[in-house]
């Protein structure tokens, strides 16, 4: 899922300073699961904002809503309706949601309520860990399913570096050296030879080279047209 973290209240307050009526818009997707932007958080933030503004002597009216997803125009369709009385919206979705709102509704003033962090897994209650960086050219078929791009701080493709010791990463011994794990797995499978090959430099275009990236499925576009 996309893991995000709640922004500091003072930042949100600064953003909405000019307004008296604000919609707090949650998302039931990833941010709800990582306890950052779901129904509950919408309520907490709305309350906190109201108290804070009351204290500043500029009471705030909040409207609360949580959409199924904010990264889909379909679910955003009734946003103008929700915004009837509000002057601005604080979106608790990841950056994708905020951007899409901004794209679709140039007149709506939208502000991010969270900092979007990474693609991660919820490894235990209260802990999320980055596992993939969306590099656009997956190589973990060769590394026993473990990603050296996201999980080796030096992005080594011919690891491990000289700092790997006792299976721990030298950069942060709380993390395993992912290359150590890769070698362990491949050894167990009798496939260590795979690593004898020199791994060519990665073509980073699929990652940062030509952003923003876009994915197109012609067939779906066509079907869509036919139906529409």
């Amino acid at each position: 899922m996309i893991v995000a973290e709640r922004r500091h209240l003072s930042e949100i307050l600064k953003n909405i300073e000019p307004y008296n009526k604000v919609l707090i818009l949650g998302c039931r997707g990833c941010v709800a699961i990582c306890s950052t932007g779901g129904d509950r958080e919408v309520e907490i933030i709305a309350t906190a904002l109201r108290i804070a503004r009351k204290r500043q002597g500029k009471p705030l009216i909040t409207y609360e809503a949580t959409l199924i997803r904010q990264c889909d125009p379909e679910y955003l369709a009734n946003l103008p309706e929700l915004m009837k009385d509000a002057e601005a919206v604080v979106s608790l979705a990841c950056g994708v949601g905020v951007n899409l709102i901004a794209d679709l509704y140039p007149d709506i003033r939208v502000y991010p309520g969270v900092d979007t962090l990474f693609f991660g897994a919820n490894t235990q209650l209260g802990v999320w860990q980055e596992k993939c960086r969306g590099c656009g050219d997956c190589i973990i078929d060769l590394t026993a399913g473990l990603c050296p791009i996201a999980r080796c701080p030096k992005n080594l493709l011919n690891g491990p570096c000289g700092g790997s010791q006792n299976g721990k990463c030298e950069i942060n011994p709380e993390n395993p050296c992912i290359w150590h794990l890769i070698i362990e797995r491949l050894t167990a499978r009798g496939e260590l030879d795979k690593l004898n090959e020199i791994w060519e430099p990665k073509d980073w275009r699929t990652y940062l080279g030509e952003s923003p990236r876009k994915r197109i499925r012609e067939d779906l576009i066509k079907n869509n047209k036919r139906e529409g």
């Binding site: 804070a52 030096k154 060519e200 430099p201």
Partner: protein, 817 residues
């Protein structure tokens, strides 16, 4: 035989090669580089120039390599993948080859996290093996993208690093093989201390058939001190230090000498291992050791003089410099008069004279077997050592004299000027007087002028014994507590302050400096003019020699919402006139005792005590708020439920003052947390003396939305003699985790509620007697010392009660920082 560099020639001819490392300076001074080159020249075949090692910004390896070259020492330029992408790397390599650099060491590079710019975006577009392939591609006339290089192609003598001591061990040789296949022609290994493991590594390399394909140079580092080897053993990943070596360094009388011996021994041992073609000496910031090691290992003189072609621009560089030394007019004349070529010639002429002088010096050096620089440094060190010894002796003398005086009532002459204070006071008898009428004498605040010694072991001299009777008798001035406290300020810390750097002169910084990578967040307390911040430190308490110590320590004065019932008289006498009104009480603290913050303890609301209602609390807080403008710290009764009721309403009153509320415990963190974010107030997060519970509470609060920069951690403190050791060790552990293990959830400042713990102890209540000494001073000492202990453990803001104890604590803080 085609060779590209001197190093290659040495290796190809089968000589045992010697290279070493040279770290460029952290400034733009090329003289430092020239000096280092001079020390090394003639002792090594080539010198490695590090590329911002440990990710610390330094004079660039490329430019330093050019300087070495121009000084006649062949460089091995190191190139890492940390700071440049494939475009930058290739550009630099073209330039380096063009300017005459022939040896290249290809590395991945240390992660920025370890350096002095951890904020930097790491590049790592390539890794070391891909870099080697790139260099190989150059030889074949291709850029990394496959495009042809038309014209001059770089053809470096390419090397790589290998670490036989990292994990997984078996894979290390495979990785070496990969490097060889990628184009490594020589290898410099990680430091070898564990010769046995290195031998096994070499055997595996032999089995892989690598020994004929690559020249392996064993890494050698002379240990400089016991501290350094211990540090390397426990803190440097991928380095193995046998216990035996630790022992040798610990027992060594002259650690540097022993270090050199060890290096020489290891060289002799690795020389016998088949396949080892040379050594690479890494004497970190101790380049002077290299000639000595090389000589003692029997590797001097080097088999061949290098034939080095200085890079063409360098003559000019040298020239410009030489000219600058001369009077300005002349330069101008010359420059204007003569065409460029002639100037260049001139330059070449002039340095020859200088060079002759140098040669002479070098001759002398050879006779003595030590370089002049080395001698000079030795003598300077010796001098400094003697000075230290002298000042140490003086100090002992003074102390002895003082003891003599105390015991025998004598006044030794020698120390008169040091003990100015003592001199002023004529005769004193060691008398104990139980209770003294207190008259505040108007003595101006005298700031500590005596420079203080930062060494913690030096204890303040406190003259408790002076108790002459009558104020009128000028010859026996009466010593009030206030004066005593001041005395400590004036005479308590003797000696001249010398910072750690001076005292550790001659030691390399990395032996005693262990920089943290974390930072305690800053919490702002209060609003407006009197607001202040606490936290912000990046080092352990008072370790100012390691870096930023953050915001100054703060002390808040505590008042109660009711008239105190169990305070001893030694404390109540300062406030009894204002007990009836919390507003006046707070005002007195601020106006008379200069409190920077006020702690309001709502003890009366405790359901198990007076169970006063919310209204009472609100009234008290209102009064205090109106009476003073310093930041407030509102401390509830500690009853989780009642505190929710009370603090909620109180927050409404003090919200606009940014006052701290607390204590928040796990049971009420949700409700009080919401209150705090609502009013944007900092909170006290209290947990019962436990690292994990403290962390958990911070996490819980963050989940509710209270950010770390609004949290003051209260680890639950104990007074001196009442469990302070537990508090101390827990605080210390929390702080180390926060700074060194980047446990971000623990990076909040500490608040220590000292006063209430101290003033409920039995000792502060006992009357003055012969055995226990004077009651009030005892209480003051207990409170001040408890506070200082907790400050040493990491405490940042303290709530205290006795005005004199606060004064004393401040003096001690000042002396320590």
């Amino acid at each position: 035989m085609e060779t590209r560099s001197h190093l290659e020639k040495i290796l190809k001819k089968g000589h045992f090669a010697v290279t070493c490392e040279m770290g460029p300076p952290k400034n733009a001074d090329i003289e430092i580089l020239k000096k280092k080159t001079k020390i090394l020249k003639g002792y090594v075949d080539a010198v490695n120039i590090t590329d911002c090692q440990t990710a610390v910004v330094r004079f660039s390896s490329f430019a330093s390599a050019i300087i070495a070259l121009s000084e006649g020492l062949e460089p091995v330029m190191q190139m890492t993948c940390r700071d440049r992408n494939r475009i930058g790397i290739q550009a630099d390599l073209l330039g380096a080859w063009g300017l005459g650099i022939r040896n290249l060491l290809c590395l991945t590079g240390d992660h920025p996290k370890f350096g002095n710019h951890p904020q930097a975006k790491p590049v790592f577009d390539l890794d070391s093996i891909q870099l080697l392939s790139l260099v190989k591609g150059f030889k074949e006339g291709r850029f990394i993208n496959g495009e042809e290089i038309k014209g001059e192609k770089p053809n470096f003598f390419a090397g790589a690093a290998a670490n036989p001591f990292a994990d997984p061990f078996e894979f290390r040789v495979k990785r070496l093989a990969k490097k060889v296949r990628a184009g490594a022609e020589f290898i410099q290994t990680q430091i070898v201390y564990d010769v046995e493991r290195f031998k096994r590594f070499m055997e595996l390399a032999e089995e892989e058939g690598l020994l004929d394909k690559v020249y392996i140079l064993a890494g050698i580092t002379p240990p400089k001190s016991f501290g350094m080897v211990r540090y390397m053993k426990y803190n440097v990943p991928g380095l193995m230090v046998p216990d035996e070596l630790l022992k040798r360094m610990k027992e060594a009388k002259d650690p540097k000498e022993e270090g050199i011996n060890i290096a020489v021994e290891i060289i002799q041992q690795v020389k016998e291992i088949p396949g080892v073609k040379g050594v690479h000496i890494m004497a970190i910031e101790w380049e002077e050791a290299v000639p000595e090691i090389v000589k003692r290992a029997g590797l001097h003189p080097r088999p061949m003089e290098p034939e080095i072609q200085p890079p063409f621009v360098v003559e000019k560089v040298v020239e410009v410099e030489k000219i600058v030394e001369k009077p300005v007019e002349k330069i101008v004349e010359k420059v204007i008069e003569k065409p460029v070529e002639v100037i260049v010639e001139k330059i070449v002429e002039k340095p020859i004279e200088v060079e002759k002088g140098l040669e002479g010096e070098e001759e002398m050096d050879k006779i003595k077997g030590v370089s002049i620089e080395f001698l000079i440094e030795m003598i300077t060190n010796l001098k400094a050592g003697l000075k230290n010894l002298q000042s140490g002796m003086e100090h002992i003398e003074e102390t002895l004299a003082e003891i003599e005086k105390q015991l025998l009532g004598r006044k030794p002459k020698k120390i008169e000027k040091v003990f100015r204070k003592i001199e002023e006071i004529p005769e004193k008898k060691v008398e104990k007087i139980a209770k003294e009428e207190r008259k505040e004498k108007e003595i101006k605040e005298i700031k500590t002028e005596v420079k203080v010694e930062a060494k913690p072991e030096i204890k303040p001299e406190i003259k408790v014994e002076e108790k002459p009777k009558e104020e009128k008798e000028i010859r026996k001035p009466k010593k009030e507590i206030k004066e005593k406290v001041e005395d400590i300020g004036k005479t308590g810390f003797k000696g001249t302050y010398r910072d750690l750097k001076t005292r550790a002169e001659g030691l390399s910084e990395d032996l005693y400096i262990d920089k943290s990578s974390g930072k305690i967040v800053e919490v702002e307390i209060g609003k407006g003019e009197k607001a202040f911040k606490v936290g912000g430190t990046e080092v352990l308490p008072f370790y100012s020699f390691e870096g930023n110590t953050g915001q100054p320590l703060k002390i808040a004065m505590e008042i109660l919402d009711i008239v105190p019932e169990d305070w001893p008289e030694t404390l109540t006498k300062y406030f009894s006139d204002v007990f009836h009104d919390p507003g006046l009480w707070a005002k007195k603290c601020v106006e008379e005792y200069k409190a920077e913050a006020i702690g309001v303890y709502l003890i009366g609301t405790d359901p198990n005590f007076k169970n006063l209602d919310v209204k009472h609390a609100v009234e008290v807080v209102k009064k205090v708020k109106e009476a003073v403008d310093v930041p407030l710290i509102i401390w509830g009764s500690g009853n989780a439920e009642k505190d929710v009721e009370v603090l909620r309403e109180v927050a409404e009153v003090i919200g606009d003052r940014g006052s701290v509320i607390g204590p928040i415990v796990e049971a009420n963190h949700r409700t009080l947390g919401a209150t705090a974010i609502g009013y944007d107030l900092p909170v006290v997060a209290s947990s019962p003396i436990d690292v994990n519970l403290a962390k958990q509470l911070n996490i819980l609060l963050e989940n509710v939305g209270v950010n770390l920069d609004k949290i003051l951690m209260d680890p639950s403190v104990g007074a001196l003699g009442y469990g302070i050791e537990y508090t101390y060790s827990v605080m210390e552990r929390i702080r180390i985790a926060a700074l060194y293990a980047q446990d971000i959830k623990l990076q909040a400042p500490f608040i220590c509620n000292v006063g209430r713990e101290v003033w409920k102890t039995k000792e502060v209540g006992l009357p003055t007697d012969d055995l226990w000494g004077e009651a009030e001073m005892r209480g003051i000492m207990m409170e001040a010392i408890t506070t200082v202990c907790l400050a040493l453990a990491g405490g940042e803001i303290f709530i205290m009660r006795h005005p004199k104890a606060i004064e004393l604590a401040k003096i001690l803080f000042n002396s320590l920082s």
